[in-house]
């Protein structure tokens, strides 16, 4: 078992090759759809759909939902990013299956408990979800895709994400090292 574990960590693709392949995927997205990749947009679509189904009155009054509907005609789930993110789940699963990494587990540093890891994962997710709406896209849609088309906003968001994470790294070091 120990051997297979050490194999797992070295089993990853060379990062520069991974980067070129990811760049080709991003190029393909732009060539096909005229837009880059994204992730948080699919979550927004799902939230708008869920709120409209559960609380239709509140959704009708919501400026957030109204603006979304103005920029997206038809069913909010029938959008490019929703289909792309479904693909991400399939692609990630296939890759994990091929490399023997399918495993239901909570990944965390041995210095912290699973519970602490999950509390921080939830808090981090809430912040990232909120920030992705304010910043009009996340690491994929705003930072990576924005950089590829030389968007000023994309570069600013990228620098703000990584700069902040570096500045705060010291305070959360116990979670990771």
């Amino acid at each position: 078992m120990a051997k297979s574990k050490s194999q797992k960590s070295s089993n990853y693709l060379n990062p520069y090759i991974g980067g070129v392949l990811l760049g080709i995927v991003l190029l393909a997205a732009n060539f096909v759809s005229g837009r880059g990749l994204g992730a948080s947009g699919a979550i927004k679509s799902t939230v708008v759909t869920a709120v409209s189904a559960i609380a239709p009155n509140a959704a009708q009054k919501s400026e957030f939902v109204k603006e979304f509907r103005q920029s997206h005609e038809g069913n909010p789930m029938k959008t490019w990013l929703v289909f792309e993110m479904l693909g991400v789940l399939v692609g990630g699963f296939l890759s994990g299956a091929l490399s023997g990494r399918l495993d239901l587990k909570i990944e965390h540093s041995p210095k912290i408990s699973s519970r602490r890891r999950l509390v921080f994962a939830l808090a981090g997710g809430i912040l990232f979800g909120f920030g992705s709406q304010l910043g009009r896209g996340c690491t994929s849609g705003s930072a990576l895709s924005g950089m590829a088309v030389l968007s000023l906003g994309g570069f600013l968001t990228m620098m703000a994400i990584f700069g902040t994470a570096y500045m705060l790294a010291y305070f959360f070091r116990k979670n990771w090292i």
């Binding site: 939230v47 990630g92 997710g125 909120f130 304010l134 690491t139 705003s142 590829a148 994400i161 990771w176």
Partner: protein, 196 residues
């Protein structure tokens, strides 16, 4: 020729089908590069694993050069390619909040789906947080809509903002990336690699 869907070369349904195929490629490459592991992702902020920096910048440069070449070959009309608009205040403030989420949660939205796809429970909980965060933004929208719309500059390119041509800026970005890769390789040797 390109972008195919904008020019009406492919139908809307074909476009969505290709979105699914491109997504498979996206998820596959992320997972193969190790982006399904929060400890590997967070490594970039402590120097013990800089895969994020290497993959991220190599990908941005590859796509950027690809688009420039495609444009030179006449394969894609860059005027029809979406350039993310710039709202100064929210671009920076949103990025700051996302950066805090990144160091706390260890994932970003795309990578959390990748982690969830291979069974990482922490990634699934992070995704739960993402939905809550988007919901909170939506519910309180009127409180921050002014902030959200502030500092609108249109869709400027960073090259324009710096007074450079796209080509010169691309070259400079490649040089900066090479310098960062060099630092990254140095950091991985200097800081012990955690076993995970």
């Amino acid at each position: 020729m390109g972008p195919l869907s904008v020019n009406g070369i492919i139908s809307e349904n074909t476009n969505l089908f290709l979105a699914f195929i491109i997504g498979i490629g996206f998820g596959f490459v992320l997972e193969q590069s190790g982006f399904s592991s929060s400890r590997k992702l967070a490594g970039v902020f402590y120097g013990y694993d800089t895969v994020v920096l290497k993959v991220f910048f190599t990908a941005a440069i590859t796509a950027m050069l690809g688009l420039l070449f495609f444009s030179l070959f006449g394969w894609v009309d860059l005027n029809l390619v979406y350039v993310n608009p710039t709202y100064l205040t929210s671009a920076v403030l949103g990025g700051i909040i996302m950066g805090a989420g990144f160091i706390m949660g260890g994932y970003c939205p795309g990578t959390s789906f990748c982690g969830a796809s291979i069974g990482k429970i922490d990634a699934i909980v992070f995704i739960g947080g993402l939905f809550l965060g988007v919901l909170i933004f939506g519910i309180g929208y009127r409180w921050w809509s002014e902030l959200y719309m502030a500092g609108f500059l249109g869709s400027p390119k960073v090259s324009e903002a710096l007074g450079l041509s796209d080509g010169i800026f691309a070259l400079l970005l490649i040089l900066v990336a090479l310098a960062m890769f060099w630092v990254a390789e140095w950091a991985e040797k200097k800081f012990p690699r955690a076993v995970y």
